[in-house]
């Protein structure tokens, strides 16, 4: 920076006579501070027109040191009308400037044209009269000398190195008439942060760009494709089509349900017929047996009782069935169904239709278990419950066994074999001992057996 103090130094060194009154730059600055006016310093410039504003109020006319109200209000309130300069003034300045500029232009243009003239080096002829100082009597000889510029090699390198001169400031630095700028805080800096431009194609840093911004970059009018510009008829058509489609689907669904119901009804009727037929056949057979065994009274009574029992059981089962839910009933029926009915009638045949070849439940199961691709099977091979129970001793059974052991030692072996569910248990063989074991339930609190010696 080229400071005022430096400038003063320069001025001082250049012409000391002018600044006799300012022997020291620091003093001069103090003086300036006192006066608070740089104008005398500044006006020392070469240009006599130059003026620099040197105070805030900029009230040059005001020389009295007395403060006035003008100091605290904008200068605009003093300068109400600022008329433009008159035409004469304009003309005068124009003329003055034109002359000045013309001179410069002519000089520049002339200079450029005279270069070519100078290039053509013309010989100069000088008449030379020699005079002998020592002996003036000798007559002088005169000759003509031709002066010619030494021819220069245009391709020769430059003899002198050209040094670039640092440009001096054309005018003294102007006093700065504003308060020092405020330091920018972190927050303000953040406010001014401009995010980097992000390409829609390349984004190696993975910056996020809002969707609307992406669309906006596209440059098309986003409103161009908005719904309010669609034809209303088109909307009507689409809605009508949608409705028709929905209706057709509903109808189809209804129809299929109805068909299924009809089918179910048919099959039920058929089954009913079959059952009736089977019943009749069974009755006929039983009647035949009864007629055969009629003579034995005792037997027939027993048989009748048995039948009665059977019928009662059957009725009971039917009652149960009727009370059961549909699912349970189906389960029960499949479980208890007497396949012999069909075989008896000679109707049992291996199913041949493709539809019934596979259990449809399998298909549904497959869809349910699609959690992982690794799972190939529908269900686990071993059910967890049975797996965990394989080698576990059933406590209840064990206790019973023990009791049994204690109670009746004699048939111990038989009981054990029958009840065993877990792995083989080893029991101390008490039959071998010759001591009589007394049954003592009261004291056997902990299942411990007390032995009498």
């Amino acid at each position: 920076m080229f400071g005022i103090a430096q400038y003063l130094n320069q001025v001082k060194s250049s012409n000391d006579t002018n600044i006799n009154e300012l022997p020291d730059t620091s003093k001069s600055i103090v003086q300036i501070q006192k006066q608070n006016d740089y104008s005398d310093l500044i006006s020392r410039n070469i240009n006599d027109r130059e003026s620099l504003s040197s105070s805030f109020s900029n009230n040059n006319q005001k020389n009295n040191s007395k403060p006035s109200i003008d100091d605290i209000r904008p200068a605009r309130h003093r300068h109400i009308n600022i008329p433009r300069p008159s035409q004469e003034e304009i003309d005068a300045t124009t003329e003055r400037t034109r002359i000045a500029l013309d001179a410069i232009i002519q000089k520049k243009l002339g200079k450029s044209s005279s270069i070519s003239k100078n290039d053509r080096s013309k010989a100069q002829y000088i008449r030379y009269n020699s005079t002998n100082i020592l002996n003036p009597d000798i007559p002088t000889s005169s000759r003509i000398i031709k002066i010619v510029d030494v021819q220069k090699d245009p391709m020769a390198p430059v003899k002198f190195k050209q040094k670039k001169q640092l440009e001096r400031p054309p005018s003294p630095p102007a006093p700065i008439l504003h308060a020092p700028t405020k330091k920018v805080s972190q927050e303000e800096q953040k406010k001014w942060y401009i995010p980097p431009a992000i390409s829609n194609w390349k984004n190696p840093n993975g910056f996020t760009i809002a969707l609307d911004k992406r669309l906006a970059v596209d440059g098309r009018d986003p409103n161009l494709y908005s719904s309010d510009k669609l034809n209303e008829n088109f909307i009507n058509l689409t809605t009508a089509l949608d409705e028709a489609d929905k209706k057709a689907r509903d109808e189809l669904k209804l129809r299929s349900i109805m068909k299924k119901k009809l089918l179910e009804k048919e099959t039920r009727e058929k089954e009913e017929k079959l059952r009736q037929l089977a019943q009749r056949a069974r009755e006929e057979r039983s009647n035949r047996f009864i007629s055969d065994d009629n003579y034995d009274d005792h037997d027939s009574v027993r048989k009748r009782a048995k039948e009665r029992e059977e019928r009662r059981k059957k009725a009971e089962r039917e009652l149960k069935l009727s009370r059961m839910s549909k699912e349970q009933r189906i389960k029960q029926m499949t479980k208890d169904r007497d396949i012999s009915e069909r075989t008896q009638l000679g109707l049992a045949k291996p199913s041949q239709s493709v539809e019934n070849q596979f259990d449809s439940r399998l298909f549904t199961n497959a869809t349910q278990i699609t959690n992982s691709e690794d799972q190939v099977y529908d269900s686990a091979l071993f059910v967890q419950k049975t797996l965990s129970n394989i080698y576990r001793v059933d406590n209840n059974n064990n206790n019973n066994n023990n009791n049994n052991n204690n109670n009746n030692n004699n048939n111990n072996d038989d009981n054990d074999n029958g009840n065993q569910s877990g792995p083989v248990e080893f029991v101390k063989d008490e039959q071998d001992s010759k001591h009589v074991i007394e049954k003592d339930d009261d004291n056997d609190d902990y299942g411990l057996k007390r032995q009498k010696l």
Binding site: M1, G3, I4, A5, I29, N36, I46, N47, R49, E50, S51, L52, S53, F56, N58, N60, K66, P67, S68, I69, D71, I72, R73, P74, A75, R76, H77, H79, I80, I82, P83, R84, P85, E89, I90, T93, T94, R96, T97, R98, A100, L101, I104, I105, L109, E167, P170, S171, P173, A174, P175, I176, L177, H178, A179, A216, V217, G219, D221, P222
Partner: protein
């Protein structure tokens, strides 16, 4: 040096205590003299004294001097008139609010410059897409596209004394277009960096250009000879203006200064250093002998020829002002970098309207920004060149009246805060 100057000037920002006391004394004195002069009309003088206490009286001349028969004392009337002369800061003049009239799209880059033809038939725009386009002012139709520059066209000037248009560009060239043949006829070669701004001298055949190389160059229009290279600025020139009387060249720069140049001598005449931030725009008043300069900190009003600081435009706005322009009706427009437009009353320096530009659909929020502006020759239309690649034409609301659109409320207290 900055710190030294600051330390020297810090206490000059505020009035020292002894000055304040003196001021009070003066005021008291004035009050007493007035009361002596007026004598009987004590009520009235009291009023006046009150008015002197507040530096701004929000009243106009005719309001201050009532046509009352009570005031027959000549002395008091003279006093009142003097008072009035002292305190002009009255209610700002009412201006109709401006509104968007037309949007013209066609350029493929930011609009960096707008120039209106002297006959007000058409206007030219220079853009970042290297082209100059000529549009019909009335209809907004494209008339012509001129291509010769290879970088953004930063400024355009149309001469009112020749059939020429001048354009300057970031490609360091200044070109002269013959508008009768639509061809470039002259090049002004010499700038070391992009040329940002230019101006034509109104009475001389001289072209002034300001460049990024922080020089202002003066060219002879016909011979394309560089007459002067005006050095002194330390940063790129943002705008130059030329006028017919001294100072004939005014330049604003990014080094926060404005320089007034003496064209005949080719030297800097005055340096204005009041701005705190880079000065981005200048505008000369068409009828008054004053000008305004816009920087990010303030828009300031100056008086010619000596460059006296007149006032700040208030209220201040926290945004970068890119361009200002003034019309004949004392309306000053300031276009901001964030896409807001501000309209000021020239005399009072008070903002009467603040509105934000309407983005062209499909442009980003960040693309809102006024880059250049110009009133047409009548001052009734405002053309703005914007960062969303559109030209917008604004006009005053014809239906607006003072009652329906009073504008931003006047607050005289703001003057006191913004004296410097």
């Amino acid at each position: 040096m900055n710190s030294r100057i600051n330390s020297e000037y810090k206490y000059t920002e505020y009035l020292p205590d002894y000055l304040e006391q003196d001021l009070n004394k003066i005021k008291k004195k004035q009050a007493t003299t007035e009361s002596l002069l007026t004598g009987e009309q004590e009520d009235l003088t009291n009023q006046l004294v009150k008015q002197t206490d507040s530096p701004i009286i929000p009243k106009k001349q005719d309001q201050i001097i009532p046509n009352d028969s009570n005031i027959d004392n000549n002395a008091s009337r003279a006093l009142i008139q003097r008072q009035q002369q002292n305190y002009v800061a009255d209610q700002p003049e009412w201006h109709a609010p401006w509104k968007l009239m037309r949007v013209i799209a066609g350029h493929k880059g930011w609009i960096r410059s707008i120039a209106v033809e002297p006959d007000n038939k058409w206007f030219a725009t220079g853009s970042n897409d290297n082209t100059i386009k000529i549009w019909d002012l009335a209809t907004g139709h494209l008339k012509l596209t001129l291509t010769n520059h290879i970088m953004a066209v930063r400024d355009l000037v149309i001469s009112d004394r020749h059939p020429y248009m001048f354009s300057c560009s970031e490609d360091k060239t200044v070109k002269c277009w013959d508008l009768e043949r639509n061809k470039v006829i002259r090049d002004y070669y010499g700038h070391l960096s992009g040329v940002y701004t230019m101006s034509l001298h109104p009475t001389l055949d001289v072209l002034v250009t300001g460049s990024r190389d922080s020089t202002v160059r003066v060219w002879d229009m016909r011979t394309a000879v560089p007459v002067f290279t005006l050095t002194g600025h330390k940063n790129p020139i943002t705008q130059v203006e030329a006028q017919s009387t001294d100072p004939q060249i005014i330049s604003a720069s990014n080094d926060k200064t404005i320089r007034l140049w003496d064209l005949a001598a080719g030297k800097s005449q005055t340096v204005l250093t009041q701005h705190k931030k880079a000065v981005r725009s200048l505008a000369l008043h068409p009828t008054e002998y004053s000008f305004a300069s816009a920087s990010a900190d303030n828009i300031k009003q100056w008086k010619f020829p000596e460059g006296t600081f007149l006032q700040n435009f208030i209220p201040r706005r926290e945004s970068i002002v890119n361009t200002i322009s003034i019309n004949q009706d004392n309306v000053m427009f300031a276009g901001n970098d964030d896409g807001t437009l501000s309209f000021y009353d020239w005399r009072s320096g008070y903002k009467f309207q603040d509105l934000s530009t309407t983005n062209i659909p499909g442009s980003l929020d960040s693309e809102a920004g006024i880059l250049t502006s110009s009133f047409d020759k009548t001052g009734l239309r405002l053309l703005t060149g914007e960062a969303d690649k559109s030209i917008k034409i604004w006009r005053e609301d014809p239906d607006a009246t003072k009652d329906t659109h009073p504008g931003i409320k006047f607050n005289p207290d703001l003057y006191r805060q913004e004296i410097y």
